[in-house]
């Protein structure tokens, strides 16, 4: 079975869905962050897949570079997210997002 774009897109969509499901259903803040990272990974996979299966692949590896950037940004985002989780934990003594409802209107 030759790799085609569809297979990559299906894998990416599944990855995104799993990530989304994790972000929506888990109660622990760290798991939500993991879910978000998974969705980002799905997006990165799409970047690279669309670059790899383009009719005339560009010599500069634009897809790869975008993925690299995105990974760097997501690393920074994960750092900020984890820091926030730690601060929230110190403040509220919990990481359960059900109890972190200060945004309630």
């Amino acid at each position: 079975m030759t790799p085609t774009l569809q297979i990559f897109l299906i894998v990416s969509a599944a990855l995104f869905s799993i990530g989304l499901l994790a972000a929506l259903s888990r109660r622990h803040a760290i798991f939500i962050l993991i879910g978000i990272e998974m969705m980002l990974a799905a997006a990165n996979l799409n970047f690279i897949a669309f670059w790899r299966f383009a009719p005339k692949p560009h010599q500069p590896p634009v897809g790869v570079m975008l993925a690299l950037f995105s990974i760097a940004i997501s690393a920074a985002e994960a750092a900020v997210g984890l820091a926030m989780v730690i601060v929230a934990y110190r403040h509220y003594r919990t990481t359960n997002v059900d109890q972190l409802d200060q945004l309630k209107g």
Partner: protein, 665 residues
């Protein structure tokens, strides 16, 4: 020196006024310096008055005028001035001399008073104001001093402020004279409107000189009568005489000053000063304004003399005698005897001051008792007072030959006799002479003869500081007659501006005999009626007056001052009370009601707008806010604060967008 005093006439009133201010600045304990300052001021005024008097002797009808501009408005200058003529000079000397005697007497009389210092300040002020009045050459300046005299009299009549009766008497004097002054002021305004000047003498253009008088014509009568209103108030003429007897509430030296030298003399002096206004356009010296003056004078003289017969207060008798004598002076002025009237004013100044100071001495000796029925027998206990009082009494009654009052009274009677309009004033004045002799005899019998009664048992002669002025005034009252006799009518000629001639033959005139008979009749009647009055049992404090015994109703009528005070109380005072009440009522109910009415209209309007606001506008705003709040509450439900809910919404939204895109695709 002579010319110096003429150009510095203002010093004469200024010195006593300055003394008054200086005394006021002293502390209450500096009694001696207060008296010394007052007396020095008065001596200075007397000295300057005599210096001012001298040049007026040199020429007949001497007149020195010194005018100055007070202030200028637009191109009109208001000018005041001082004038020195025989009338002013004679008054100056009399006022300052009598004033000096009264000042010295006061040192003894007021010795025990706690407000001694204030008393002398007021006395000096009184004297200064009167001296200024006499010297004024402008009706306005005269009016200013006139009011200052009124103020001083108010302060002095009410000197014993802790007595309600003194405060009431002071108020009565002030308000009664103010009624007259109102007329004076209106007359002054009218005069200024017609003639354009208030200066008496101004080199031919003053309002009393021919040029000024020519502008007045027929209005002169009304102006003169209005000015006479002021004189009526000040000189206690009927119907404004009521304040004068009440003014007895002041200390006795004040009564002497008011009755002799200052206050009441001002009215007579004023009429004499503006006499050209009264006599303008007269035929035979008779004008309608002068006729009014005569009849007012006659009424006053007779009425006051009758009332005096039935009074029991030693000072009140003298007060009514002053009113009566002032009426006599007014008659004299009215019938054309200006010089005679002023002569009587001067002579009266001496002997009335003497009588008042004598009564002060009696009161002082009797520990403050005023009722003559409680005195008696003082002849032996107070010999100096008795002799001087008798001199005063005879001068007032008009005993011929030796007493000044007799000659001036005869002069007045002679002038009245020849009044062309009517002979009634003459005969009424003759009756007045009898009455005067009668009430003075009554008084002297009650006070000095008979046995001593309650108040006079422990009487004593007054100290020398009080008897010396009495002696000085008695000597004046006798020797003043030297310049009054018809044989050498020096003062008469001096005042009229004629040279005096000596003629012994004129000494004996029919009038002397008329006067002798009348005064004899009055005194004889008095002795006959009151012969037993003093001989009563010494234990009895008061007794029935012989007149009261014979005519109780008449006596009551006179003793109650003809019920004039009561009449005023029922009419004028009731009327002003009613007017005050009406104004009060108007204020309270009418004007206040008006204001409240406007307020109520405003309140009704405010209520209306309130209800529109509350039910109209507020309701709309309330609805809107309620709606907004409900919507907000609804919306806030969506904001649960659950991040995952938000995330789910985001995912759903994105999915929806994807589906939309695919469907449109």
């Amino acid at each position: 020196m002579n010319s110096g005093i003429i150009t510095n006439l203002w010093l004469i009133p200024a010195v006593p006024c300055a003394a008054s201010l200086a005394i006021l600045s002293l502390s209450n304990a500096r009694r001696k310096s207060a008296a010394v300052l007052a007396v020095i001021g008065q001596v200075f005024a007397l000295g300057m008055s005599i210096f001012a008097f001298l040049p007026t002797l040199q020429t007949n009808s001497f007149r020195a005028v010194q005018n100055f501009t007070w202030f200028t408005f637009g191109d009109q200058a208001l000018r005041l001035g001082f004038v020195l003529d025989p009338l002013a000079a004679a008054m100056l000397v009399m006022i300052s001399l009598v004033g000096l005697c009264i000042f010295i007497f006061s040192i003894g009389y007021m010795a025990g008073d706690k407000n001694f210092v204030r008393f002398f300040a007021y006395l000096s002020f009184f004297s200064g104001a009167m001296l200024g009045l006499v010297l004024a050459n402008s009706l306005l300046l005269l009016f200013i001093f006139w009011e200052l005299v009124g103020l001083a009299s108010y302060l002095l009549i009410g000197f014993w402020i802790e007595r309600p009766s003194a405060a009431a008497a002071a108020k009565k004097a002030f308000i009664t004279t103010r009624i007259g002054d109102m007329g004076f002021f209106l007359g002054m305004l009218w005069l200024y409107k017609r003639s354009g000047t208030l200066l008496f003498y101004d080199g031919g253009s003053g309002c009393l000189e021919s040029a000024g008088l020519a502008t007045l014509r027929a209005s002169a009568t009304f102006i003169a009568l209005l000015i006479f209103c002021g004189a009526m108030g000040k000189s206690g003429q009927f119907p404004l005489h009521v304040w004068l007897p009440d003014a007895m509430e002041g200390p006795t030296p004040v009564s002497a000053l008011i009755h002799a030298a200052t206050m009441v003399a001002a009215g007579v002096f004023l009429v004499a000063r503006v006499y050209p206004l009264f006599s303008l356009g007269g035929i035979n010296g008779v004008t309608s304004s002068l006729t009014v003056v005569v009849w007012i004078g006659v009424t006053t003289a007779l009425m006051a003399a009758l009332i005096a017969i039935a009074q029991a207060d030693i000072k009140r008798i003298l007060a009514y005698s002053t009113v009566s004598q002032l009426g006599l002076m007014m008659v004299s002025l009215g019938v054309g005897g200006v010089a005679a009237g002023i002569m009587h004013l001067l002579a009266h100044g001496f002997f009335k001051a003497l009588l008042f100071l004598g009564s002060g001495s009696v009161i002082h000796g009797c520990q403050g008792e005023h009722d003559i029925r409680k005195m008696g027998g003082l002849r032996r206990l107070m010999p100096v007072t008795f002799v001087t009082y008798a001199v005063g009494m005879m001068a007032l009654s008009g005993v011929p030959f030796f007493f000044s009052g007799a000659w001036t009274k005869e002069e007045i009677l002679r002038a009245t006799e020849h009044w062309p309009r009517s002979h009634a004033p003459y005969f009424l004045m003759l009756a007045g002479v009898v009455l005067t002799a009668l009430y003075m005899t009554r008084q002297i019998i009650y006070v000095f003869f008979g046995n001593s009664r309650v108040a006079s048992e422990r009487a004593h002669e007054s100290p020398r500081v009080m008897t010396m002025p009495l002696i000085a005034l008695a000597v004046c009252a006798i020797f003043f007659s030297v310049v009054l006799t018809p044989a050498w009518p020096w003062l008469h000629a001096y005042l009229r501006g004629e040279p005096a001639q000596f003629d012994v033959a004129r000494l004996i005139q029919p009038m002397v005999f008329v006067s002798l008979v009348l005064v004899g009749a009055g005194i004889g009647l008095g002795i006959w009626v009151y012969r037993k009055a003093g001989a009563q049992d010494r234990q009895r404090s008061a007794e029935i007056d012989p007149l009261e015994y014979a005519q109780p109703a008449l006596f009551r009528f006179l003793a109650n001052k003809m019920w004039i005070d009561e009449l005023y109380g029922r009419t004028v005072i009731t009327f002003s009370w009613a007017a005050a009440r009406l104004s009060d009522w108007m204020d309270r109910y009418f004007w206040d009601g008006l204001v409240r009415g406007f307020g109520a209209v405003g309140r009704v309007f405010a209520m209306l707008t309130t209800s529109v606001d509350e039910h109209g506008i507020n309701a709309g705003v309330d609805e809107t806010t309620a709606g907004t709040r409900g919507l907000g509450r609804l919306m806030s439900k969506a904001h649960s604060g659950q991040i995952q809910t938000y995330l789910a919404a985001l995912a759903v939204g994105m999915l929806a967008l994807l589906l939309l895109y695919a469907w449109l695709g």
